[in-house]
Symmetry: C2
Subunit: 312 residues, 2 copies
């Protein structure tokens, strides 16, 4: 269990202190923290709790939400991400996971899905897309312009890189499953994340491999190999893909072994790529959230031992 | 409206004859047919109904479901697809759309989602993946082996190509949204579909671009351009991506303009790639199915005129 980390989103009912103590009881060496739990406990206090429990912080979730097109939205995103970088440094982790945000019309700062007005792109709507650096497509709707949204993510990363470097923190780009491209993350594949990271040093911009989001990708082996060769694998998150979908597909994540992911194969690819860091378990699932934390940790450890550990 | 085609799945409540008559009333030149509607009306009779209405058949849906690993499943798939090829030829369309099937554990012949037993890959399960042509990964579970499932699709296509050639029919590979990779189609991107098509002549194996399935793909422009250059774009299907998801995400398809797809941009890519064929509207959506067919056709034509036609 020397590399197994509990992400606090898996035991949602626990405070940060409870999660840290639970992980320590279960013999885990690390925790992945969400900023909401850190904010509840206080930043310095959170750092102290983890340190005194003798654990390490495998990652901080999450920065990102960089796709705003208006000045106020851009400023707010930069400000929030500067704060997140400082929080990561204070907590003693170098890995700050970025969920980069969806299309402007759908992406709220918290990432919730919004119904989209059907008449938004009707006749008479402004028919210009004036993003610098790409051809204007007459009739294109800026609110749905995925190419321009992705360019804004690249621009914001470039602006945040010096801040991350100053604090010794790595911006960890997380490709999300394409079902979340509209409302949560316009980075949809590992290859795309690596392309976005390419202009920057590997110690400042990396990627995380979350099995739930990338298991389906026909390019996965090749891109994991590439990520390893570039020194950019900043994290490996294990979580299964369940069917049928939960009412909110974000909650269709499950314990390793309960769904369709081929953990043996993907874990071997990650290992072959040279990754030796923590394996973080981050599951959003109402049934698991309704289960006592210690029981969740026991299941999590057992599944890790069966399905992942033999291939690390 | 000279290129707009009604796929019979959009007007689910209509028989084949009703759909053909409805399309003709609306001034459409073509219909896309599903095999269930053809079977109800009878194959020869269906061909006659379309011919006498003066319409063309833009495509037949669907062949595929090629991922079975057992001999009986393989034989059944080959037999069914041979029948589908003959049906397409009889109906006078060269384009037979293939939905290739999901993982063996989840893919039924009809493509329904099945809950997957949680203990399927528990300790003690057979730990061999003996698919020819790939390295055996100890511990890999054949039921979840995506790489091997994709290889079986390639093998079955190779076996069906001579049959398709004999009947002058094109096998049209449809990449499905990655949210369906487990239970419906292990082809998840246009690039992957083109890689699978590459060994065969363009007039025998092509691809269809369905906006619902591919809109999120960071490689989309490049792969549409490639598909055009290779002469493999066999169809363009327009359908929007709605949020929040329907209880069954397959039904989260919507009328053009109601969701997040940037039709201006994608349509221009398809046009720039040289595609001059029909634009088929195929929507699975309970609200639309509950709407009178003529009204659905009117909405469909209006949305096409506003969002797609200016970019063709």
């Amino acid at each position: 269990m020397a590399r197994l980390s509990l992400n606090t989103a898996t035991t949602k009912g626990w405070t940060l202190r409870e999660a840290v103590e639970g992980a320590a009881r279960a013999g885990l060496p690390a925790v992945g923290l969400w900023r909401d739990r850190v904010a509840e406990a206080g930043l310095e206090e959170s750092a102290r709790i983890v340190r005194e429990a003798g654990l390490r912080v495998s990652s901080l979730c999450r920065g990102g939400f960089l796709t705003a097109a208006d000045d106020a939205g851009i400023d707010a995103a930069l400000q929030d991400n500067r704060a997140a970088i400082i929080e990561a440094a204070t907590l003693g982790t170098s890995e700050l996971v970025f969920v980069v945000g969806g299309l402007p019309a759908a992406s709220t700062f918290g990432g919730a899905a919004l119904p989209y007005p059907a008449d938004r792109a009707a006749d008479g709507e402004a028919s210009t897309s004036s993003e610098a650096g790409r051809a204007v497509v007459p009739g294109a709707d800026p609110a749905r312009d995925l190419v321009a949204s992705r360019q804004r993510v690249a621009d914001r990363i470039g602006e945040l890189v010096p801040v991350a470097q100053e604090h010794g923190v790595r911006i960890v780009l997380e490709p999300l499953h394409p079902m979340f491209a509209a409302d949560r993350a316009v980075i949809s594949t590992l290859g795309q994340a690596l392309d976005l990271a390419a202009p920057f040093p590997a110690e400042t911009v990396g990627v995380v491999v979350d099995t739930y989001h990338v298991w389906w990708d026909p390019e996965l082996e090749r891109q994991i190999t590439r990520a390893g060769a570039e020194g950019r694998i900043a994290g490996y998150q294990t979580c299964d893909f369940l069917l049928p979908f939960a009412a909110d597909p974000l909650l269709s994540r499950g314990h390793v072994g309960d769904g369709y992911v081929d953990f043996a194969t993907i874990t071997r690819w990650v290992t072959a790529a040279g990754y030796t860091g923590d394996v973080e378990v981050e599951i959003f699932n109402q049934t698991i959230w309704d289960t006592p934390g210690d029981q969740t940790l026991a299941t999590m450890a057992a599944r890790h031992r069966t399905h992942v550990l033999p291939h690390l």
